[in-house]
Amino acid sequence: MGILDKAFLKSLWVFHLATGSCNNCDIEFLDCLTPRHDIERFGMLLVGSIKHADVLLVTGAVNRQCIPRIKRLYEQMPKPRLVVAIGECALSRGVFMHSYNCPLPLDHVIPVDVYIPGCPPRPEAIISGIMQLIEKRKGQPDEAKA
């Protein structure tokens, strides 16, 4: 893999999207930025604009209001891009499984690269999930990384 691909894996900028979650996953993700966990060690930064982002972190069950908005955000992300689903709600809708308002889990709306289960997942689990994603991408040939 080329130097530019290596640089991509060493400097993932993260955009955080909460699709109506109960805030627990959001708090656990924000813990990753605190001195105890500090994801800037791995070059990850939290950015405020989707145009700057490499990774889209989604927390919460995807409801009817959010589906078109998630699709728009995903289309606005410059390629190459990654999506990380955090928490039981984003993975499988959790307790909202039979709700009238949550027709689809996240991976039926946009392609998801990493699933991090837990209600909420611990910050260590989030970091370990993203690091596993990096390890996985390191082994792949360039063509598979659209």
Binding site: L4, S11, P35, E40, G48, K79, P80
Partner: protein, 307 residues
């Protein structure tokens, strides 16, 4: 031929390398001040390399030519500034009349390019950021130019950087005199505004307007903007070192002093930006046109009285 060497080796390559290193010091020190570990040494370089590979998105409704040209204008102007500064620093007699004015003028162009990019992107938040950047320029330019005038007065009203350096080589650095020290303080605070760092980062306030002016930029264009900012992170402290601290000299112990001066200025910038809250734009204007301008006028009067 020698000028091309100056432009690409000193103006671009060396400035970029030192600027990237300076921005690493800034991020690492920020992390240490917050009891974090912080990024590795090559992190600013990785950020730029990564952005080169990413897709460029031009927003619908943006004025395309200006949107694409604005980052280049900023980068080229920083290259010109650092070339003039390096030429003066390496060979202080090989300069032209009025290069100080050229440097002050071209140091403004990066901010203008950010304003152009912000307005061209057609995003309401970017427009808001760009109009704030415009007001920020209006605020800090007045005390900045008055403070630069102090160095001019010390060098017998010469507008050549070479003469300012020669005066300092003869009579000692300007910063140790009363007027020089005051002017150095004012320029440091104006530099914080020029780099758009906290407390004067109103144009790109993350929490209010989500990076403001740069919100629509992605991929290589954002890389150019980041490189421009990193190079400015060297060019501005270098300008201060030249006009108040006698320039960088490249042999023996002087090299160590020069490095310490640069790292010290960067550390000061970082500590200021980590221990202050963000000001509103009207507070910025009042701060620069009030106390800062009064202090700058006092510094000019002291310099005229040979203090």
């Amino acid at each position: 031929m020698i000028y091309i060497l100056y432009l690409f080796f000193f103006g671009f390559l060396l400035t970029a390398v030192i600027g990237l290193f300076g921005s690493w010091i800034d991020r690492k020190l920020t992390a240490r001040l917050q009891y974090r570990v912080g990024p590795p040494l090559l992190q600013p370089l990785f950020d730029i390399l990564k952005l080169l590979k990413k897709e460029t998105l031009v927003p619908f409704g943006a004025s395309k030519a200006t949107f694409l040209a604005a980052p280049m204008i900023g980068l080229v102007s920083v290259m010109v500034v650092s070339t003039v500064l390096w030429v003066n620093n390496v060979d202080s007699q090989n300069t032209f009349m009025g290069d100080l004015i050229v440097v002050v003028y071209f140091l403004l162009v990066p901010s203008i390019s950010i304003i152009m990019g912000g307005f061209a992107s057609g995003n309401p938040l970017a427009s808001l950021g760009a109009s704030r950047e415009l007001k920020l320029i209006l605020s800090y330019e007045l005390p900045f130019i008055l403070a630069v005038l102090v160095a001019v007065i010390h060098a017998d009203f010469s507008l050549r950087l070479g003469d300012i350096l020669a005066t300092q080589a003869k009579n000692g650095v300007i910063a140790v005199s009363w007027s020089g020290g005051l002017a150095l303080l004012i320029t440091m605070i104006c530099m914080q505004g020029k780099l758009a760092l906290v407390p004067f980062d109103t144009p790109e306030a993350e929490t209010e307007i989500a990076h403001g002016v740069l919100i629509e930029y992605s991929g290589p264009l954002l890389a150019v903007y980041r490189l421009m900012k990193n190079m400015l992170f060297f060019a501005l402290p270098f300008f201060i070192i030249i006009i108040y601290l006698g320039g960088l000299r490249g042999h023996g112990l002087h090299l160590l002093y020069g490095a310490l001066e640069y790292v010290g200025i960067v550390a000061l910038i970082t500590v200021i930006r980590n221990t202050n809250p963000r000001l509103r734009i009207d507070q910025v204007l009042r701060f620069f046109w009030g106390p800062m301008t009064v202090l700058a006028i006092i510094a000019v009067l002291l310099a005229l009285g040979n203090y």
